[in-house]
C-alpha cells in the first residue's frame, strides 16, 4: 500500500482554507460581502484550475497535484480503503467546482448591505468541499459522509436569510428529507456490509466476498434490500421521481442563487453516488466471470444477481422521472417551479446512462450532467437577476422581458433552448450523445432513447411558452414596475436600464451562455475526455 501524498488534496485544502478564512474574518468583525465573495471565488477558481490541470494530464504520468501512477488504478480495500483518484471523479470535481464558481461569481453582486454574507459564502465553500471529497470516494461510508457534508451545508444555505417564511419552510423540509435520505442510505450500507463484509465500492456488489454460503435464502434478500435502501436514499438527492416532491418547494423557496447551486451542482453529487455504487453490480453481471472451483448454480447466481433487475429498475426510474418532471412542468405558472420540474426531468435523462450502463452511455450521461450545470445554473441566475428588477417569479410577470433587457433575455432564451435540446446548444449535443448511446446499445435500450426524445419534444412546449411570453407579449400597463430611467412610450415596451445586475452576475451569466454555445458547437474536447473517463471507469469496476 502506497501512501497517497497530501498534494492529492490540494484543491480540497484550498476550499477548506477559504471557508475557514471566511468564518475567521467574520468572527473578527470584518464583514464585507466583496471580501468574502472574492475569497470564495478565488478559492474555488484555484481548486478548479488544479482539477483541470489534473484532467489535462490524466492518465499520463506527472499530474499537477496527483503523482504518477495514482490515477485510474484498479483499487481494492488493500490499496484504496477510503479515497481513490479516477478521471471520472476528477471530471465530477470539475463539474461541481464550475457550478460553485458560477454561483460565487454571481453572488458577488448580491446587495452589499445584506446580512449573512459570511454564512452564505462559507457554507457554499463547505458544500463544494463535501462534493469534491465525495468525488474521490473509494468507500461507501466515506461517500455517504462526504454527501452529508454537502447536505448539512445546503440545508443551512436554503434558510440562511431567515427573512421569509417560505425560505424557512423550504429549509426545514430540505433538512427533514435530507435526514431521512441519509438514514436510509446508511441503513442500506449497513445491510450491504452485513452481506458482503466490506464497504469498499470496488468489491461491493460483485458477490466475490460473500459471507453467506447460500444466496437463495434471506441473505440475498438482505443485499437486495440494502441496494433498495441506497437507491431510495440517494434517489432523494437525485430528485428521481417519486422521491422528488421536496425539490420543487425547496428550489422555489430558496434564494435563486442557492437554487442555482442546488439544481446545477449539489444534486449531481447524488448522480455521482448512483454511478459509483450501482455500476459495480450492474457491470459485474455483464462480464464473464470464471467461478473458482467450477461453475455451480450458486456461483453463477451470485454473480449475476442484481445486474439486470437494477438496469430495468433504473430504466423505469428514468422514464418515470423524465415524464413526470415534464408533465408537471407543463402545468406550472411560476418560473422557479417550472425550472425545478425541468430539473427533475433532466435527472431522468441522466438516469438513462445508468440503465444502459455501457461506457458510451455513461459518457453521454456525464455530458448531460456537464451541460445541465451551465444551462440550469445559468437559468436560475437569470431568474435572480430579473428578480432584481422587481419582476417576480410568476411566468406571466415576464411579459416582454426579452425585449426590455436584451442580453438577459437572450441568455435566458439560450438556456431554455438548450434545456429543450435545440441544436447548436450544449443541451442538444448532450442529449444527442446520450440517446445515440442508448440506440447504439440496441435491445430494449432503444426505447429509453425513444422515451427520452418524446419527452424532450414534450418539454419544448413549456420552454417555448416562456419564450412566447418573453418575446411576443407586451407587459400590461401598470403591472410590472417600470424601473427608474426607463423610456416609457413608443411602440415597443420600455427598455430596462442595462446596468443594475452587477459585474459578477453579468460575468457568470455571460460565461454560462458562452459555454452553452461553445460546447454546443464543438463538444469534441469535453466528450473525448468524458469518454476516456467512462472507459476507464468501466475497466476499473
Amino acid at each position: 500500500m502506497t501512501a497517497l501524498p497530501w498534494t492529492l488534496f490540494a484543491p480540497e485544502l484550498f476550499l477548506l482554507g477559504a471557508a475557514l478564512l471566511v468564518f475567521l474574518l467574520d468572527s473578527l468583525g470584518i464583514r464585507r460581502l466583496e471580501l468574502f465573495g472574492g475569497l470564495a471565488t478565488v478559492g474555488i477558481s484555484i481548486a478548479l484550475l488544479g482539477v483541470l490541470a489534473d484532467l489535462r494530464f490524466a492518465p499520463l504520468a506527472g499530474l499537477a497535484t496527483v503523482p504518477a501512477g495514482n490515477v485510474d488504478v484498479p483499487w481494492s480495500p488493500l490499496n484504496a480503503s477510503l479515497v481513490v483518484v479516477t478521471s471520472f471523479g476528477l471530471i465530477f470535481q470539475a463539474i461541481f467546482l464550475t457550478s460553485a464558481l458560477l454561483v460565487a461569481l454571481a453572488s458577488l453582486s448580491r446587495r452589499s448591505d445584506e446580512k449573512g454574507a459570511a454564512i452564505f459564502f462559507g457554507l457554499l465553500l463547505f458544500a463544494t468541499l463535501g462534493m469534491t471529497l465525495a468525488a474521490l470516494a473509494a468507500d461507501l461510508i466515506y461517500l455517504l459522509l462526504a454527501i452529508e457534508v454537502t447536505g448539512i451545508s445546503t440545508y443551512l444555505l436554503v434558510g440562511y436569510t431567515r427573512r421569509d417564511a417560505r425560505g424557512l419552510e423550504a429549509a426545514m423540509k430540505f433538512y427533514i428529507i435530507g435526514a431521512l435520505s441519509a438514514a436510509l442510505s446508511f441503513f442500506g450500507a449497513s445491510l450491504l456490509y452485513a452481506y458482503y463484509g466490506t464497504t469498499n465500492l470496488a468489491t461491493l456488489g460483485t458477490g466475490f466476498v460473500s459471507m453467506f454460503p447460500s444466496p437463495l435464502g434471506g441473505a440475498t434478500g438482505i443485499a437486495f434490500l440494502g441496494y433498495g435502501f441506497l437507491l431510495v436514499g440517494i434517489g432523494f438527492k437525485v430528485t428521481a421521481v417519486p422521491f422528488h416532491a421536496w425539490a420543487v418547494d425547496v428550489y422555489d423557496g430558496a434564494p435563486s442563487d442557492v437554487s442555482a447551486f442546488l439544481a446545477g451542482g449539489s444534486k449531481k453529487v447524488g448522480l455521482f453516488a448512483y454511478f459509483v455504487v450501482f455500476l459495480v453490480p450492474i457491470l459485474a453481471s455483464q462480464t464473464t466471470f470464471v467461478c473458482p472451483g467450477g461453475p455451480t448454480p450458486t456461483c453463477h447466481y451470485l454473480h449475476s444477481t442484481f445486474g439486470i433487475p437494477l438496469q430495468v429498475l433504473f430504466g423505469l426510474l428514468a422514464v418515470v422521472t423524465m415524464t413526470a418532471g415534464n408533465v408537471l412542468a407543463l402545468m406550472q405558472t411560476e418560473m422557479k417551479r417550472m425550472l425545478a420540474y425541468s430539473s427533475i426531468s433532466q435527472a431522468g435523462y441522466m438516469l438513462i446512462g445508468l440503465a444502459v450502463a455501457t461506457s458510451p452511455a455513461i459518457a453521454g450521461a456525464t455530458l448531460q450532467i456537464f451541460a445541465h450545470v451551465f444551462m440550469k445554473t445559468g437559468a436560475f441566475l437569470v431568474v435572480a437577476a430579473v428578480a432584481g428588477f422587481g419582476i417576480g417569479s410568476r411566468i406571466e410577470e415576464w411579459k416582454g422581458v426579452g425585449l426590455r433587457h436584451r442580453w438577459l433575455g437572450a441568455s435566458f432564451a439560450a438556456m431554455l433552448l438548450s434545456l429543450a435540446g435545440i441544436p447548436l446548444t450544449v443541451g442538444f449535443v448532450s442529449k444527442f450523445v446520450l440517446f445515440s448511446a442508448a440506440v447504439q446499445a440496441q435491445g430494449w435500450f432503444v426505447w429509453l432513447a425513444v422515451a427520452g426524445l418524446l419527452n424532450s419534444a414534450l418539454s419544448v412546449f413549456y420552454y417555448a411558452r416562456v419564450l412566447r411570453v418573453m418575446y411576443m407579449e407586451r407587459p400590461e400597463v401598470g403591472s410590472a414596475p417600470v424601473p427608474a430611467g426607463a423610456v416609457v412610450g413608443g411602440s415597443d415596451p420600455p427598455a430596462l436600464t442595462l446596468g443594475g445586475i452587477g459585474v459578477g452576475r453579468a460575468t457568470a451569466i455571460g460565461l454560462a451562455t458562452a459555454a452553452v454555445f461553445a460546447f454546443g458547437v464543438y463538444p469534441q474536447p469535453v466528450l473525448a475526455g468524458l469518454q476516456m473517463a467512462a472507459d476507464h471507469l468501466v475497466q476499473l469496476l
Binding site: F428, V429, V439, A464, Q524
Partner: protein, 488 residues
C-alpha cells in the same frame, strides 16, 4: 478545389450576425448578403456546368468536404457537405426567395434588424439542410430553421400568431425528433462506419426488410409533417395565415421543400427497399392530400388560407411523384418543388399586398380590385394561372412530367391528380373572377397600387415563372446530375 459550400455557409453566417447588429440599416446588409449568396449560387452552377473540372458526374456529390467533428470510439460525426443536382436547384430556390423576401419587406418598421436577421437565419438553415451530408449536421440545420420561424410568426404575425407559432414549433419538432431516432437506429443497427450519408446509404442495405420498412415509415412521418401530408397538415393553415407575408413566403417556398428534399435524400436514397414495399401507403396519403387540399381550397374565403390549402394539394403531387420511385418521378418532384416555391411565394405576396392595400383578404368582401390596382391584379393573375398549371408558366412542365410519370407507373390512378387539377383550376378562376373582376366593393378611399419594393419582388417571381416555364431545361439539365437520376 474551391470549398464553395463552406464559404457560402460562412458568408451567410457572418451576414446574419451583421444584420442582427446593423440596427436601422439592417435591410442594406441583408440585401448585400442576398446578392453575395446569389453570386455564390451562380458559382456553384458554374462549377456544375464545367465537366472539365471533373465535377458534373451524375453519380457523385460535387464539392464534397468532410472534416471530423465529434469523434469517439463509437460515434463518428463529420462536418460533411456536398451537393448534387437536386440540392443545387433547391439552393437556387433558397437564394431567390431570400432575395425577394428581403425586397418585399424592404420597408419593415418593427424591429427591422431582428426581422431581416431572422429571415437570413431561416435561409441559412435551409441552405445548410440542402448541403449537409451528415445526420447530425443535417439535423442541426433542420432545427435551426425552426427557431427563427417561431419568432417570425410569433412576433410579426397576425392576431392568433402566438398560438400558431407554438403549434408550428411543436408539430414540426415532434416530427424532427421521430426522424432523428429513425436515422440513428438506421446508423447504429446497420453498424455504419459514421453518420455520413454515403456510409449510411451503403450500410443500410444490410438491414432486415421489416426493419427497413419500419424505419422508412418513421422517416416518412418525420418528413411528412413538414410536407405537410394529410392528416398531419393542420399546423400549416394556422401558421401560414398568422405568419407575416415574408414568413409565409419562406414557409411555403422553402420549409415545405425541406420535407420533400429530406424524403428524397434521407429516406428514399438510404432505404429504397423500404420505400418500394410501402409505396401504396404513400400513394394513398398523396391522393388524400391532393384531393383534400384542392377540395378545402374551394371552400375558402380568405385568400391566404386558399393559397395555404392549395400548397397541401401541390405538395401531395410532389409526394406522389417521389413515391413512384422512378427517375422521371423524381425529376417531376424536384421541378414541382421549385415551381411551387416560386409560385406560392408570389401568391403569398399577393395576398399580403391585397390585405394591406384593401384592409382585408376576404374574397367575398373585397372585389373588383383591377381598376384600382392594375399591377397587383396582373401579379395575382400570373400567380394563379401559374399555380393552376397553364402552359408556358413554370408549373406546367412540372405537373405534366408528374402526371406522365404517374401514368407510366400506376396507370389509371393518374385520374385522381388530374381530377384534382380541375378543381384547382376552378378555385383559382373563381377567385380571380371575384377578387379581380367583380363589381368594385370595399375599396378604401385612397387605395393605391403596389409600392415599388413589393412590385419589384413580385416582378422578379413573375419573370422567373415565365422564364422557367418556357425553358424548363435550364433546371432539368441540373436535376439529372444526381445519383437518383439513374433509376428506371
Amino acid at each position: 478545389m474551391i470549398p464553395i459550400l463552406s464559404i457560402t455557409l460562412a458568408t451567410l453566417f457572418v451576414g446574419t450576425l451583421a444584420t442582427f447588429a446593423a440596427g436601422p440599416r439592417a435591410r442594406y446588409v441583408a440585401a448585400a448578403v442576398s446578392a453575395i449568396f446569389l453570386a455564390e449560387i451562380a458559382g456553384m452552377f458554374a462549377l456544375f456546368s464545367a465537366p472539365a473540372l471533373g465535377l458534373a458526374l451524375p453519380t457523385q456529390f460535387a464539392e464534397p468536404e468532410s472534416y471530423p467533428w465529434i469523434q469517439v470510439a463509437w460515434l463518428h460525426v463529420n462536418y460533411t457537405v456536398g451537393i448534387d443536382g437536386i440540392s443545387l436547384v433547391l439552393i437556387l430556390l433558397t437564394g431567390i426567395l431570400q432575395a425577394v423576401t428581403v425586397a418585399y419587406s424592404w420597408t419593415e418598421q418593427r424591429q427591422p434588424a431582428a426581422w431581416f436577421g431572422l429571415v437570413l437565419l431561416t435561409c441559412l438553415g435551409c441552405f445548410g439542410v440542402f448541403a449537409a451530408l451528415d445526420v447530425l449536421l443535417f439535423f442541426v440545420f433542420w432545427e435551426v430553421v425552426l427557431v427563427p420561424m417561431f419568432f417570425l410568426i410569433g412576433y410579426w404575425g397576425g392576431p392568433r400568431r402566438r398560438y400558431a407559432a407554438l403549434k408550428f414549433f411543436i408539430y414540426t419538432h415532434v416530427a424532427s425528433v421521430t426522424m432523428l431516432v429513425a436515422l440513428l437506429v438506421t446508423a447504429f443497427y446497420s453498424h455504419s462506419a459514421s453518420l455520413d450519408f454515403a456510409s449510411m446509404a451503403a450500410s443500410a442495405q444490410t438491414l432486415a426488410l421489416p426493419t427497413q420498412i419500419i424505419l422508412f415509415l418513421s422517416l416518412f412521418f418525420g418528413f411528412g409533417v413538414k410536407f405537410p401530408i394529410v392528416p398531419f397538415h393542420t399546423w400549416l393553415p394556422d401558421a401560414h395565415v398568422e405568419a407575416p407575408t415574408g414568413g409565409s413566403v419562406l414557409l411555403a417556398g422553402l420549409l415545405l421543400k425541406l420535407g420533400g428534399y429530406g424524403l428524397i435524400r434521407w429516406a428514399l436514397e438510404i432505404l429504397p427497399t423500404g420505400l418500394q414495399h410501402v409505396a401504396p401507403i404513400l400513394y394513398a396519403v398523396a391522393f388524400a392530400s391532393i384531393v383534400w387540399g384542392a377540395g378545402v381550397s374551394l371552400a375558402q374565403r380568405d385568400l391566404k388560407r386558399l393559397v395555404a390549402y392549395s400548397s397541401i394539394n401541390h405538395m401531395g403531387i410532389v409526394l406522389l411523384a417521389i413515391a413512384l420511385y422512378s427517375s422521371l418521378g423524381l425529376l417531376a418532384a424536384v421541378l414541382l418543388m421549385f415551381a411551387h416555391g416560386i409560385v406560392s411565394a408570389l401568391l403569398f405576396m399577393v395576398s399580403g399586398s391585397v390585405h394591406h392595400t384593401f384592409g382585408s383578404r376576404d374574397i367575398a368582401t373585397v372585389s373588383g380590385i383591377t381598376p384600382t390596382a392594375p399591377v397587383l391584379s396582373t401579379m395575382t393573375m400570373t400567380g394563379a394561372l401559374a399555380s393552376l398549371g397553364l402552359p408556358a408558366l413554370i408549373s406546367f412542365p412540372a405537373e405534366f412530367t408528374a402526371l406522365l410519370a404517374t401514368w407510366d407507373k400506376i396507370g389509371f390512378w393518374v385520374l385522381i391528380p388530374l381530377g384534382a387539377l380541375v378543381i384547382t383550376a376552378a378555385f383559382y378562376i373563381w377567385m380571380m373572377q371575384r377578387l379581380l373582376f367583380g363589381t368594385p366593393k370595399s375599396i378604401p378611399v385612397g387605395a393605391h397600387d403596389l409600392p415599388y419594393p413589393e412590385a419589384f419582388a413580385m416582378g422578379v417571381l413573375v419573370v422567373l415563372s415565365v422564364l422557367y416555364g418556357i425553358l424548363p431545361n435550364l433546371l432539368i439539365h441540373f436535376i439529372q446530375l444526381s445519383p437518383v437520376a439513374g433509376l428506371p
